[in-house]
């Protein structure tokens, strides 16, 4: 087990290292990264001074080593627009995004898993067809479309819920639904597949032969076994929800890191954008590491296979 975790941890470290490198390379796509870091209309002297100050006139390799060194000290640079550390700007927005992601995950799990169970129990019937239409809708409606439609129906036409901002818990409802819809579809599909797999096993037939009710077998035995793949999906979905927040937060004017990312691109504050991309990617790598380790803990076949 320890060997498996160590190997997987090494993989994750390599992945994070790779992410840092890709972000470094992308930031230099434009030729001169200094131009990305100055406010619009800056004078040539200022640009030249900043280039020297930030060391962009040195060889790329030296810059790269320097970049990694400052990251290891959690020194992510100072926002050129607001003139405070970029990390502080991002940190102030994190609680909002965490709240939104939690709301979305609650909806995705709370709606998706019961749908998946129902689809597996009544597979082939009209209920499954109806529910698979719901799942397909969740999967195909882009978040900005479902977000705006939710605003139109519940905010404008019915006037039940606020259409933007982050005032109270009521304001959390619509963005959570919009963000959670895609994950809901994923959970429903995964739960259905996992349960259908379990239903084909011998212990289910044995239970039926002993006269247990189908519902009793599903709720007492099948769900427990089917939970393993579904739980690990939950960890992976956290990363997807954070990435999806970029669009949903823009639609709902929700003051999290997703909205901050787009605002920072518009104000050309690229160090802030860089912090957000690094942060979400590291969470992404971290959660998939946790998912794999959890999976290996529950199911010994995985760690023994390596």
């Amino acid at each position: 087990m320890l060997r498996y975790v160590a190997g997987r941890l090494l993989q994750a470290i390599i992945a994070v290292f790779g992410v840092l490198t890709i972000v470094f390379v992308v930031m230099r796509f434009s030729g001169d990264p200094t131009l990305l870091l100055v406010p619009e209309g800056a004078s040539q002297e200022y640009i030249d001074a900043l280039r020297t100050e930030l060391g962009f006139d040195r060889p790329v390799i030296t810059q790269y080593i320097d970049y990694l060194r400052s990251l290891s000290h959690l020194d992510l640079g100072v926002s050129v627009v607001q003139r405070i550390p970029a990390l502080d700007i991002v940190a102030a927005r994190i609680p909002y995004t965490v709240l939104l992601a939690a709301g979305a995950l609650t909806i995705a799990v709370g709606v998706g898993i019961p749908i998946g169970i129902a689809m597996a129990m009544w597979r082939g019937g009209w209920l499954e067809r109806l529910l698979s239409a719901v799942v397909l809708t969740g999967q195909s409606a882009p978040t900005f479309l479902s977000g705006i439609l939710l605003i139109l129906v519940f905010g404008v036409m019915l006037g039940w819920l606020p259409t933007s901002g982050a005032g109270d818990l009521k304001a959390l409802v619509l963005p959570s639904i919009a963000l959670g819809a895609l994950s809901m579809a994923t959970f429903a599909r995964m739960a259905r597949t996992a349960i259908v797999d379990e239903l084909g096993k011998d212990y289910v037939r044995a239970g039926r032969a002993r006269g247990l009710s189908p519902a009793g077998i599903v709720f007492r035995h099948v769900l427990r076994n089917a939970a393993i793949p579904v739980v690990t999906i939950a960890a992976l979905e956290i990363g997807n929800l954070l990435a999806g927040a970029v669009i949903v937060e823009t639609v709902f004017a929700w003051p999290g890191i997703g909205q901050l990312a787009i605002q920072s691109i518009q104000s050309r504050d690229f160090l802030v954008v860089q912090v957000i991309v690094l942060l979400i990617s590291i969470v992404y790598v971290g959660t998939s590491l946790l998912a794999d380790v959890a999976y290996a803990l529950i199911d010994p076949r995985i760690r023994l296979a390596r």
């Binding site: 992945a15 397909l136 195909s140 882009p142 479309l145 823009t250 787009i262 690229f270 979400i280 992404y284």
Partner: protein, 292 residues
């Protein structure tokens, strides 16, 4: 009607009848959207960028004084929404098609090379795939577009170059399997070059699974283009893109629902159709999935 014609008609009907109803419906939707996109310059009632400020935010069905009918209404600058949606279909399909082509080309070539040559090429390529897949694709695209600046070709390049790893994984796994088959060994012994073996002999045999990936990615690319344009990072105004039309529509949603509803509805139908078709293809081509 001759006997032969009747049988061939019956055969055709039987063949069509074997398709599930849902596939026929989404197929028709796809054909309609593609036709509308191709014919946009001829069937659009107006120039999609022509502004008529007197006709701002008019509801669907409004008839202007000059006799022009705004079938789907007009936007915030008095442009005909139907024309913008038609030309938007062109943008959407073109960006998705070209970026899928770019990522297929890059991904499949790298995947086949990694499986054929093994060694350090495999290590580098497959590690890079792992890393690329550990950055959320939306974020990578947002960052790259932000650095490069928006634009039609840059958008295709960004989407193509951020989405190749999935093809690489599939091409790699499939090539490994096919490469052990006797006919490949025979081609190798006959002195065929690596490029010839990979593209002439292996590629046709692994194209089924690749087609499944490409279909799923095609739907995703449509969403990515619309999403980036919605965020103001994709197709730039005044060029019509469903995403950018909807981002304006978001601002006017309280007064003019149609600006969001029509491009949004088209986008939804298009992605839904591609997804349904993709699922069906996967079930047909992958016997393991069919059992379930």
């Amino acid at each position: 009607m001759s006997l032969q014609a009747t049988t061939s008609l019956r055969r055709t009907r039987r063949r069509v009848g074997r398709l599930p109803v849902a596939i026929v419906i989404v197929g028709l939707i796809l054909i309609m959207i593609v036709t509308a996109a191709v014919l946009a310059p001829w069937i659009a009632p107006a120039d999609p960028t022509r502004q008529v400020l007197l006709m701002r935010l008019k509801p669907p069905g409004t008839i202007a004084a000059g006799g022009q009918v705004y079938l789907l209404g007009s936007d915030e600058l008095g442009r005909d929404l139907l024309s913008r949606v038609l030309f938007g279909a062109q943008v959407s399909l073109l960006v998705a098609t070209l970026s899928v082509l770019v990522s297929t080309l890059v991904g499949v070539t790298l995947g086949m090379m990694a499986a054929w040559f093994r060694g350090w090429i495999e290590v580098i390529v497959m590690r890079l795939v792992d890393i690329m897949l550990s950055i959320p694709a939306v974020l990578l695209a947002v960052l790259t577009v932000a650095v490069l600046g928006p634009g039609f070709f840059k958008l295709i390049l960004v989407l193509g170059l951020t989405r190749w790893p999935r093809y690489t994984r599939v091409a790699f796994g499939q090539t490994l399997q096919v490469a052990t088959l006797p006919y490949v060994k025979a081609a190798e012994l006959a002195g065929a070059s690596a490029a010839r073996i990979l593209f002439r002999h292996i590629l046709p045999n692994i194209s089924g699974p690749l087609l499944i990936v490409a279909t799923a990615e095609f739907g995703l690319m449509i969403l990515f283009e619309a999403g980036l344009s919605f965020l103001g990072l994709g197709i730039q105004p005044p060029a019509p893109s469903w995403g950018s039309i909807m981002s304006v529509g978001r601002q006017y949603v309280e007064r003019a629902w149609w600006i969001v509803a029509f491009p949004g509805g088209c986008l939804f139908l298009l992605v839904l159709s591609v997804n349904v078709l993709g699922d069906w293809l996967r079930d047909r081509l992958d016997p393991q999935a069919r059992v379930r």
